[in-house]
Amino acid sequence: MPCEADEEEVRGVKVSREALLEVMEGESDLPPDDEMEGEKDLAQGNKMELSGLSLSYGGKKVLEDISMPIPARSITAVIGPSGCGKSSLLRCLNRMNELVDGARVEGKVYLDGEDVYAPGFDVVGLRRRVGMVFQKPNPFPKSVYENVAYGPRLYGVRQKKVLDRIVEESLRRAALWDEVKDKLGSSALALSGGQQQRLCIARVLAVQPEVILLDEPCSALDPISTQRIEDLLHELKEMYTIVIVTHNMQQAARVSDFTAFITIEEQGSPGRLVEFGETEEVFTNPRKKKTEDYITGRFG
C-alpha cells in the first residue's frame, strides 16, 4: 500500500510541503530494487522508450515503426496534424489501446527497461505508474475529495487520515487546493472546466505515478486555464516524466523539452515519426523539410 499510517504518524501530519513530497516518494511501493539509485540514473536517462512500435485497429495501420525515447523528468511533446495517430501513440504507453476491440500493437514499449507488452506484464501496475489525463476533463460524478481519493482507495488505502493527506497533497501539487479546500465535499462537476482538468491531474498524482500522459489536456479550456495547466506542468516535471500530445505548436514550444513530430503521408496511411529532438532544435532548426513545413504552418 502506498501509505502506511504509522509512517505518517512518525513524521507528523502537518509538515512542510517538501517533507510531504518526500514522504510520498519514499512510500511508493515500487519494486524495492535500489529505487533511489535507479531514479538518479534515470534523471539523466530515458524513462520510457519506444522501439519499432506499430499499431493497427482491425487490420488498419494507424502507426508504423515508431522509435523514440522518452527522457526522464522532462516534458516530451508529441505534435502532428490531426489524424496522425498521436493520441493513439500516447495510449500505447499505458496499454489503453487494449480497450479498443481489434487493436494490435507490434514492437516494444519499455518502461525502466522492461517491455510493457511482454506477456505477464502487470497492466494494473503499469497504468498506476503511467497515469493519463484526457482531452476532455472527465472527473467522476463524485465529490472533489472522492475523485482524488479514487486511486488510493482502489489500491486499498482506507484510513481517513491517510486519504485526507493524499487528497490535500495531490490537490496542492495540482495547484487546485486553494480553490477547492472549502468545497471538497461538493460535486466535482460543479467546478469550471479548467478546475476539472486540474482535478483530473490531481487524481492521477494521488497514485504517485512516474509518468504522466496528457492527451491534448488544454484543447477544451480557455487561455487562462491553459496557462495555469502549462505552469503546473513546468512544476510537475521536476518530479515526473511527462508526455503531452498537443495540436497547438505554440504550446509544444512553450512547455516541452523534447518534441516528436509525427505525420501521415496522405489520408489513411499510418503515422510515422518524422523527427525527434530537443524542442528548441526541432522548432528553430528542424532537420527535416516536413517538420519545417509543418511548424511554419505550410500544412496541417
Binding site: 484526457f134 463524485k142 462537476l189
Partner: protein
C-alpha cells in the same frame, strides 16, 4: 430534419419542438385541421385517464360511504355480512410484488451488467433478443407454465397445495426480468465512456470500475428500472391468479393460498352487486393509487439524478 420542414427561425430553445415554435410557415386551414386532429388524438390519453379516475371514484363511492374507511381497510372480508376489509388482498399484492422484485431484480441486474460490460457482441445479441421475446410472452402462458411446473415443484418441496406467494413471486420475477434488465442496461450504457476510461487508466479492473463508478452513476436509472418492474408486478393479474391459490386468507407462509387485489377483482367482478361491487372498485382505486405512487417515486428519483448529475444518465 426539423429545419427543412420548418424553414422559419429555428434558433434558440424553440427550435427543439415544433409546437410553440416560431410562426408556422404553413398557414392555412389544412394545417389547422391536421393540428387539431392530432391534438384531439393526443388529448384522448389525458381525458381517458381523467375519466377513468372519475369513474373509479364514482363507482367506489357507495363502498366508502356505506362500508366506511375502517371497514374497508380491515382484515375481514365477508360481503354477505357487510364486511369489506381488503387488507388481505393488499398484503397479498404487496407480498407477491416485493417477492417478484426480490427474485427478479438481482437476476435482471446481473443480466444488465453482463450485457453492458462483459458480453461479447454475439452473446449480447442472443441475450438481448431473448429479453425482447421474453417481454412479449403473454402472461397467461407464464401463468399456465407456473401452474403446471412451479406449483407441483413447490408442492413436492413444501407440501400443501403448492400455491401461494412463492410461486406467484417466481412467475412475476420472470415477467419483470426483461423490463428491469433492459432499463437498467440502458442506464448503464448511458454512463459516459470517459468515466470508464478514467477509471481504467488508473489501473482499475473492469469490476472495480463497475462497482465504484459505473453502477453508482447509473444508480438512479437502475432504481427507476426496479420501480417500473414493481409497477408491472403490482398490476399483473392473470399469471398471478393461476398460481396464488386463491383463498381469502392471509398467507401463513410463502406456500399457502392467498389473494391479491387484482385476482380478487377478477374473480368476483361478475357476481357482485351493490356495495360488494363498489368495494371492488375501491380496490381498483387503491391499486391505482399504489402505481401512481410508484410513478411519483420515479419522477422524484429522476429529478434528483438530474440535480446531482446534470449530464443526464437517466434514460427514461
Amino acid at each position: 430534419m426539423t429545419s427543412q420542414l420548418c424553414p422559419g427561425k429555428m434558433a434558440g430553445p424553440a427550435a427543439r419542438s415544433w409546437a410553440g415554435g416560431p410562426v408556422n410557415p404553413f398557414k392555412g386551414q389544412r394545417e389547422a385541421a391536421i393540428r387539431w386532429t392530432l391534438r384531439i388524438c393526443a388529448l384522448i390519453s389525458v381525458v381517458g385517464l381523467f375519466l377513468m379516475v372519475a369513474f373509479l371514484l364514482r363507482e367506489s363511492l357507495p363502498a366508502w360511504r356505506e362500508a366506511g374507511f375502517t371497514n374497508l381497510f380491515a382484515a375481514d372480508w365477508n360481503p354477505g355480512r357487510g364486511k369489506y376489509g381488503i387488507l388481505i388482498f393488499l398484503v397479498g399484492t404487496m407480498a407477491v410484488s416485493a417477492g417478484g422484485l426480490m427474485l427478479g431484480a438481482p437476476l435482471a441486474l446481473a443480466t444488465a451488467i453482463y450485457l453492458h460490460a462483459y458480453a461479447r457482441p454475439a452473446w449480447r445479441r442472443v441475450i438481448g433478443k431473448g429479453l425482447e421475446v421474453l417481454a412479449g410472452i403473454p402472461s397467461i402462458i407464464l401463468g399456465w407454465l407456473g401452474f403446471t411446473t412451479l406449483v407441483p415443484l413447490v408442492r413436492s418441496l413444501a407440501g400443501g397445495t403448492g400455491m401461494g406467494i412463492l410461486p406467484a413471486s417466481m412467475v412475476l420475477a420472470v415477467m419483470i426480468l426483461p423490463t428491469v434488465a433492459t432499463i437498467a442496461r440502458d442506464s448503464l450504457d448511458a454512463v459516459p465512456e470517459s468515466f470508464a476510461e478514467a477509471s481504467f487508466s488508473m489501473g482499475a479492473t473492469r469490476w472495480q470500475t463497475l462497482r465504484r463508478v459505473i453502477i453508482p452513476t447509473a444508480w438512479p436509472g437502475i432504481a427507476v428500472a426496479m420501480i417500473l418492474g414493481l409497477g408491472r408486478a403490482l398490476g399483473e393479474t392473470m399469471a398471478v391468479a393461476m398460481v396464488i391459490g386463491p383463498a381469502t386468507a392471509f398467507p401463513r407462509n410463502l406456500t399457502t393460498p392467498t389473494h391479491t387485489l387484482t385476482t380478487k377483482i377478477m374473480l368476483e367482478m361478475g357476481e357482485s352487486t351493490g356495495v360488494h361491487r363498489s368495494s371492488l372498485f375501491a380496490m381498483a382505486l387503491v391499486l391505482l393509487a399504489l402505481s401512481t405512487l410508484l410513478i411519483l417515486l420515479v419522477r422524484l428519483l429522476s429529478r434528483k439524478a438530474v440535480q446531482e448529475f446534470p449530464g443526464g444518465v437517466l434514460t427514461c
